[in-house]
């Protein structure tokens, strides 16, 4: 848990992407003139493979550098406040400002149990100091409400065990992100590899967080999730946002969507 401002302040943070361009080996992968994320609670980002969705996410998190352009976090949304240029932030400061992204590929702490992973996010940072060697019980008790909640909600088995299956590790990754109480949450294909019921629970949880004031952006291939969850959808193809609108609006343009995504998705 990072010491974040109280989520009860309802101003939703947004991320402004301006003139952002990224090329790999001469091929332009992302080229966005102006994109504002976070105006609505949950936004979806869809598109065919190679559209640049994951690259854009990585650009926001500054895992990938930008060739050009700026990506700015506006903690209070469009109202007031200076923006924080995300490309200048060292990676651990991202979470400090409330910007968190789940991982598309499985990322795990091999030697840590499920409890450990959850506590890493949920326990107060003040306990993680070299001299606080008797603070485990306090840290655990203070975080137990939240850890218990996710243990039950997501159906983890024995919390003192290690996450073994790929799906379990993916779920743990998402739980870690959620427990950080992010203000801006990026989910990169969160449901890939998860069973049906778990997907529903994750989405429910995401909805809950969004209602409390978190801005959420989801990249997904599972379009059912997108249609059910998102208030707004951006359709990316060949590095650009070619369409933007509510799920209904996007689905109305079925020919365009199907051209990229194949039939039967709309």
């Amino acid at each position: 848990m990072t010491d974040l401002p109280d989520l009860a302040t309802k101003t939703r943070p947004s991320i402004r992407i301006q003139n952002a361009v990224k090329s790999f080996s001469g091929r332009v992968v992302v080229d966005i003139d102006e994109l504002n994320l976070g105006d609505v609670p949950v936004e979806g980002l869809i598109g065919p493979n190679g559209a640049g969705k994951t690259t854009l996410m990585r650009m926001i998190m500054h895992s990938t550098s930008l060739d050009r352009g700026t990506i700015t976090l506006l903690p209070q949304g469009d109202a007031s406040g200076d923006g924080i240029e995300l490309s200048n932030l060292p990676s651990h400061r991202m979470a400090h400002h409330g910007v968190v992204k789940s991982n598309q590929v499985i990322m795990d702490f091999e030697k840590l149990t499920i409890w450990d992973s959850l506590l890493l996010s949920a326990a107060a940072a003040k306990y993680e100091r070299p001299h606080r060697i008797f603070s485990e019980d306090d840290a655990f008790d203070e975080a137990s409400a939240e850890t218990e909640r996710y243990l039950e909600l997501f159906g983890f088995g024995d919390p003192a065990a290690f996450a073994k299956a790929a799906g379990e590790k993916k779920l743990l990754d998402i739980a870690r992100c959620l427990l950080l109480k992010p203000r801006f949450l990026l989910l990169d294909e969160p449901t890939a590899g998860l069973p049906e019921e778990t997907t529903a629970k994750v989405m429910e949880e995401v909805r809950r967080l969004a209602a409390l004031g978190t801005s959420v952006v989801i990249v997904e291939h599972n379009l059912d999730v997108i249609w059910n969850l998102c208030d707004e959808v951006h359709f990316m193809a060949e590095g650009r946002v070619v369409m933007k609108g509510t799920p209904a609006e996007i689905r109305a343009h079925r020919t365009v969507v199907e051209k990229y995504l194949g039939e039967g998705h709309v």
């Binding site: 500054h62 895992s63 550098s65 060292p90 990676s91």
Partner: protein
């Protein structure tokens, strides 16, 4: 002005073996990705082999160079088969490989004492002639070292960059799967790299040894500088290693003359290298973000 002349002459002739050793280490590091601490023992063993051939068969120094190099090369190949290849097969991580090579370095350094004995050893060679170069005296051995380094560097440079076998080596280094698919025999090429690296180290050791004495720690004493030269110069390939190695030798000489003690020179250069490496790693910014 005299300082520059002296530094150049002394630096290049006294520290020519450093360049040679760095070349060998760079071959392993750049082409196999392995930071091999035990490489310093090929230097030591080269000195011991040369001394042994020299004193046992009563051959002059120039005649022992070839056997010294070859024997060191064979030891290098031996360590590949005995330790590094099996370790790779077991998927040992990079950090663990470095620690293993550290253990191997220790093992070789002490085991050789059972073979060659504990006392300090010396080459049995007549005192070298002294020639004057740019106002400083240098021994013929040192001049030979410098000449050999120049010749071997050029040979290796040409070999790696221009020859067909060299192309195969570089192909293997950059993409093993693809190289194998192209018909390159990875085992043969890898063994060749280890052998050449060992020969380079062994020759360096022989040159170090003939100039002073042959002791078990002589290779280890050079290791830090070999490593630093390769880390700094290696990003520009073999040429970079040679240039940085030569520059280090000259800098060591110049600083020793200025500060009065070889140890101070080393201290200044160690600090300089570490600071430079830190600065350079900062510039590569934050890789490995999630």
């Amino acid at each position: 002005m005299q300082l520059i002349g002296d530094s150049l002459v002394i630096g290049l002739t006294e520290h020519a073996p450093l360049v040679l050793a760095a070349i060998g280490f760079a071959l392993l590091y750049r082409l196999t990705g392995l930071l091999n601490v035990a490489y310093s023992e090929t230097v030591t063993l080269g000195a011991y082999f040369g001394m042994w051939v020299n004193t046992t068969f009563d051959l002059n120094f120039y005649a022992v160079l070839l056997p010294a190099g070859i024997l060191a090369g064979l030891v290098s190949v031996g360590t590949y088969f005995a330790v590094f290849r099996p370790a790779k097969r077991r998927n040992v991580g990079t950090l663990e490989l470095v620690i293993i090579s550290f253990g191997l370095s220790i093992f070789l350094r002490y085991t050789l004492q059972y073979v060659f004995g504990y006392p300090v050893r010396f080459y049995d060679v007549p005192p070298p002639q002294t020639w004057r170069l740019l106002g400083t005296g240098v021994s013929t051995f040192r001049l030979l070292a410098l000449a050999s380094v120049a010749v071997i560097s050029l040979l290796l440079y040409w070999f790696i960059q221009k020859s067909r076998l060299g192309l195969q080596i570089r192909a293997l280094a950059s993409d093993e799967g693809l190289a194998q698919a192209s018909g390159i025999r990875p085992l043969f090429v890898t063994v060749l790299i280890w052998f050449i690296a060992g020969v380079a180290g062994g020759l360096a050791g022989a040159f170090y040894g003939v100039g002073s004495s042959v002791v078990p720690f002589m290779g280890w004493r050079q290791f830090l500088f070999i490593l630093m030269v390769v880390l700094v110069g290696g990003t520009r390939g073999l040429g970079g290693v040679i240039v940085v190695g030569a520059a280090t030798g000259v800098a060591l000489a110049a600083l020793t003359l200025e500060l009065g003690q070889a140890y101070y020179a080393q201290l200044v250069l160690i600090t300089g290298f570490v600071v430079y490496l830190k600065w350079r790693s900062r510039r590569v910014a934050e890789t490995g973000k999630v």
